[in-house]
Symmetry: C3
Amino acid sequence: MTLSIAAATQGLPPETVFALLERVRRKSPRVHAITNAVAQTFTANVLLALGAVPSMTLAPEEVAGFAASADALLVNLGTLDETRRQAIPLAVAAAQEAGRPVCLDPVFIDRSKPRRLFARELLGIMPDVVRLNGAELDALFQGRAEADALIAGGTVLAVTGQEDKVESLGEDFRLLNGHALMSRVTATGCAGGAVLAAFAAVESDRALAAATGLSVFNIAGEIAAERAGGPGTFVPELLDALYGLSLRDIEIRLKTA
Amino acid sequence: MTLSIAAATQGLPPETVFALLERVRRKSPRVHAITNAVAQTFTANVLLALGAVPSMTLAPEEVAGFAASADALLVNLGTLDETRRQAIPLAVAAAQEAGRPVCLDPVFIDRSKPRRLFARELLGIMPDVVRLNGAELDALFQGRAEADALIAGGTVLAVTGQEDKVESLGEDFRLLNGHALMSRVTATGCAGGAVLAAFAAVESDRALAAATGLSVFNIAGEIAAERAGGPGTFVPELLDALYGLSLRDIEIRLKTA
Amino acid sequence: MTLSIAAATQGLPPETVFALLERVRRKSPRVHAITNAVAQTFTANVLLALGAVPSMTLAPEEVAGFAASADALLVNLGTLDETRRQAIPLAVAAAQEAGRPVCLDPVFIDRSKPRRLFARELLGIMPDVVRLNGAELDALFQGRAEADALIAGGTVLAVTGQEDKVESLGEDFRLLNGHALMSRVTATGCAGGAVLAAFAAVESDRALAAATGLSVFNIAGEIAAERAGGPGTFVPELLDALYGLSLRDIEIRLKTA
């Protein structure tokens, strides 16, 4: 059972989405991404296509410095080995000390108890954004009250699925863009988490930033799916679409509920 | 000198190949892949394009759980670091306890003595399938009798090269599909090992599964080579071809000897 | 401030560039690449498209053997974790003992003090080629005299930027090829370092090898940019362009100052 999200849906004007995208392109925020081994290259390329800058080191003597000087931190729990377990608290402390937003993506915590426990501990840091699907949402919280408590503390939940939902203390959003091919390519979800971090770096309304990030990435996915012959050509087309995304593309395609 | 494989060749009906491919697409087996750092992303995308699901964690506290709940295990010995050395026995024990097939790919054991010794120890687990090229075959066994003993115990050998050979206690196969561009892209062989694991997950006749997996992957390679302008565009085209592979494609192209 | 490079520019005949490229294609040198986790797959594919052969293991019990039997060693300092810190001195000692050229790429040393200190220690091994950008050049040396001392010892500096400069005890080169899209894709610089290593493997005039490697890679980048719709399709096009690069392409495009 997926915990229900009672989203008081609101509109997301295309002009606002495009203005935030242009802000990312102009400011080129650096996102320090602690992410899984399978997702690293694609995540770096997604950030670059978006106009942001990736860094990805995990070494304990370096990671705090990289995180503190970045504009946002992504913590993705895929391939959660000892190096990543050590790097995460160091990076989170440095990013929060420097006042940078932290985005948590608790990948596959529904499949691994040690990872679920680690993710639950991480909630104590009060991440700015948590990106997860329905199964991960159910695994992360022991009941709806726990999720509500986190939101009450200021964390934004971005719950992905057929329909994406952004839930926050302020506005909520229900988002309807995306394409089935995105789930036939590894690490699209993980790279999407990095997109959320990039938008959080340039917009202090974290719910708006999350809704914009999800929409931008999913619209690029729709454009790429139309151009692609399958999941292989979809990957380069997705990066091209992100790189070239225009106000017109967003006006035509943006779907909220 | 490459140990000779005395294959009592038999036919591989296109309808059988396509039926097994459709079974993979319908059942979406999860393959837990312990594979080298260079091959991880491409291997995950090959599995997804095929219709299977990848998981790739190596962490000692997680890998047994992931392997036990997967439908097959791939053990690829590339970039064989301490983390992988620790993960492999844990994953193999969990997969075998759960009755899942184990596919071994002893990459480059002809270039590294420590790796060769590790691979020889792994033979003790009686893997269901061993995928290797001629040089690796010569390095793995100290003589033809050792290879025969392994086969007598139920292991299927899938020996790749200009011509691919599948040798087993039951049927043997000689397969003639493939394209030279496949060797101009990193990790195609490694990803091919994951394809074998996916087919072993859905077909208990391991020799038939191996022959089908090799043929499907190599036919996709031929189609991709016709569409590609070189080794770069070959990669996305290979994934598209795998994704879209039809009975007609197999009927036209399947070549056995 | 970027340390100035007083390059006594000389010509680089297209025929020479193509002859060295053909030598790489014919000899297929193996480059053992110790490189960062983000760059591994792309670097391997760049080497294969060029006609070289990659190997990438980092394990302490294997890396010396792989490096000693390779034709050149690349040491890239990205994602400099404990495994890489241990592997680098082992690989360097083995490569130098075997008389193989060593190419150093001190990525992002301007952003990380521990990495800068590690890079400065590595200068003691007298690498054959150091590839770096202006910010990394400033971080690596405490003044122009240090850079000059290294060059006087026989090291070639390949300084990349809007304009690439190769500085050596012998000839210097100023090179003007390349395209802005190359910096919108992760690891193009890192993969370029591997190209330098491949050319150093087949040409003992290290400055000429470096100038050729930079030019070949940058010309392929120009061709790819013309064919690509953005940074996504640029990646496969770059590999195709490297694979197919002809004397005519080089004659038309090579630009030196």
